[in-house]
């Protein structure tokens, strides 16, 4: 076993031979949209992301389905078709799955990926001096809540949907062309939650440059209106002792950094030269990535400092 539960990583990694490690992950969640096909696609992109965050390549996926008997079966069909489309875009295959009857629909995948044992990326390798790259804008949780209340603009909803649908495949492929020290993906614990896991596993501290963080359109206004999901507050309360914010920072700006993301981007720690090359390459491919901070030595006062 190369990577197990101890370091709160994205997936388990098991070394099969000197050349081959398998990466195993599982993720599923309830719908965040009324469109079943879209839901299937987003849930699958989210499940596949963990393989990319480990530096691996997905090869095989199994459907995990909970579905109520009162809903039309065509809806389930669309969810599965949506999921299958993303799995096939990732170059992997769906080999089956398991479904049970439940009150609310839930969908996701158990994904198997492969990688070279020495090239597996954990969240525990970040070194002081590394720069941090985030490969997708933040704000899907906030826009989702605002959308439920009919308060998000079409522009915000479309940008959030596009971002959630995007596989982390391209970003991961660029990342693997350069030296990288650590990687994780941003999901339910928000940017700061996953950054904190990376910092603790790597025994370093992080400095996050809040003005550099890419945001989805309209997120700041919606956050200021109080469109903040419960998960963001839970993340904040759970993590607050380890994170130092500037005195003047507003509640809504903090909330965005704790906003739970669905199918979020990769957070990559790489040496400065490598990070800059990577960023140029990603931006050339229209990936909305930015360098959002740096890795420093361990600090006794805080694990993450937001500036």
């Amino acid at each position: 076993m190369l990577i197990g539960p101890k370091t709160s990583d994205d997936a388990a990694v098991y070394k099969l031979s000197e050349e081959l490690a398998i990466i195993q992950t599982l993720d599923f969640f309830p719908p965040m949209t009324d469109d079943p096909y879209l839901y299937g696609q987003i849930a699958a992109a989210n499940s596949l992301s963990d393989i990319y965050a480990m530096g691996g390549k997905p090869i095989l996926a199994l459907n995990i389905v909970c579905f109520p008997s009162c809903l039309p079966i065509e809806m389930l069909e669309k969810i599965l078709l949506g999921g299958a489309s993303k799995v096939s875009e990732a170059g992997a295959v769906i080999a089956g799955g398991h479904s049970i009857v439940d009150d609310t629909p839930k969908y996701g995948l158990a994904v198997t990926g492969v990688g070279h044992p020495e090239k597996i990326l954990s969240n525990s390798g970040a070194c002081s001096g590394d720069l941090l790259i985030l490969t997708k804008p933040l704000g899907t949780g906030i826009i989702n809540i605002a959308g439920r209340g009919q308060l998000a603009s079409e522009e915000s909803i479309q940008a959030a949907t596009k971002s959630m649908l995007e596989l982390n495949r391209q970003a991961a492929e660029v990342m693997l062309q350069y030296p990288v020290n650590a990687c994780t993906d941003i999901t339910g614990f928000g940017l700061l939650g996953h950054a904190l896991e990376l910092a603790l596993a790597s025994r370093v501290s992080l400095e996050i440059w809040s003005n550099k963080i890419p945001l989805l359109p309209g997120v700041e206004e919606l956050a200021a209106m109080g469109m903040i999901p419960a998960g963001a507050y839970q993340n904040r309360d759970y993590l607050k002792d380890k994170i130092a914010f500037p005195k003047e920072s507003k509640a809504e700006s903090k909330a965005i950094l704790f906003d739970p993301q669905t199918s979020g981007g990769l957070l990559i720690a790489a040496p400065p030269a490598s990070a800059r090359f990577m960023l140029d390459k990603m931006q050339e491919l229209s990936i909305n990535a930015q360098i959002i901070g740096q890795v420093n030595d361990k600090n006794n006062d805080y694990t993450i400092k937001v500036v």
């Binding site: 809540i145 605002a146 439920r148 209340g149 009919q150 308060l151 998000a152 603009s153 079409e154 206004e221 919606l222 956050a223 200021a224 209106m225 109080g226 469109m227 903040i228 999901p229 419960a230 507050y233 509640a251 809504e252 909330a255």
Partner: protein, 203 residues
């Protein structure tokens, strides 16, 4: 006019407590709204919303609930309008709401002709209206095989904003066919209606 309103936002999912509180505050020019919520998230979100709009708040915990008293003062800054659209200078505050691709009841063929001639007449207004909002089958007028495209283009050239309802485009599976203007949601459409100097509805 000062007012006092009490609203019960317990047993509601996010973001409904914020929306109900906002609506209650929007309905009064000044006064107090007391909002009762049963969870931390709703409390924090309402406080955040109130603070960012310059309202004064007070929270009193009552058993497992929170009673939030929000005071909307007379001297507050004009309320921030979210998602509202700036009017261009050369257009009036006139907004048309078109809810069908036919004008009037009766023969659809006649209705179609009447709608075209109505749009021609609107195009002759000077200054041009601020916006035309397309709802329900009205959205068929902004989609690609509309016979009225040239008139709408002429209006758009004069600064009239065309907004087609996104839910309606989806319902009629025409989102990909939208040829002019942009897609809007009900909040934007309602904001435009509320802010307009004059609204003309074309059923």
């Amino acid at each position: 006019m000062s007012a006092m309103k009490k609203i019960d936002c317990r047993k509601m999912n996010c973001p409904q407590p914020v929306i109900n509180t906002k609506q209650a505050l929007d309905q009064i020019s000044q006064g107090i709204v007391v909002s009762l919520v049963d969870n931390e998230t709703a409390k924090e979100n309402i406080l955040l919303f109130a603070k960012n709009n310059g309202y004064i708040t007070e929270v009193i915990p009552i058993a497992n609930d929170y009673q939030i008293t929000i005071t909307k003062g007379a001297s507050e800054e004009p309320e921030k309008k979210f998602n509202s659209i700036e009017a261009s200078e050369n257009v009036t505050g006139l907004v048309y709401l078109i809810t069908s691709n036919f004008l009037g009841q009766g023969s659809p063929d006649l209705g179609e002709v009447l709608m075209s001639s109505m749009l021609v007449s609107i195009n002759e207004l000077n200054p041009a209206p601020r916006a035309i909002l397309f709802i329900n089958t009205g959205i068929m007028l902004t989609c690609h095989d509309s016979r009225n495209m040239d008139i709408l283009k002429s209006l758009a050239g004069k600064g009239t904003e065309m907004i087609s309802c996104g839910t309606c485009l989806d319902y009629y599976k025409l989102r990909e066919n939208l040829k002019i203007g942009r897609i809007g949601n009900m909040l934007e459409i309602n904001n435009l209606l509320v802010e307009a100097d004059k609204v003309i509805g074309i059923p």
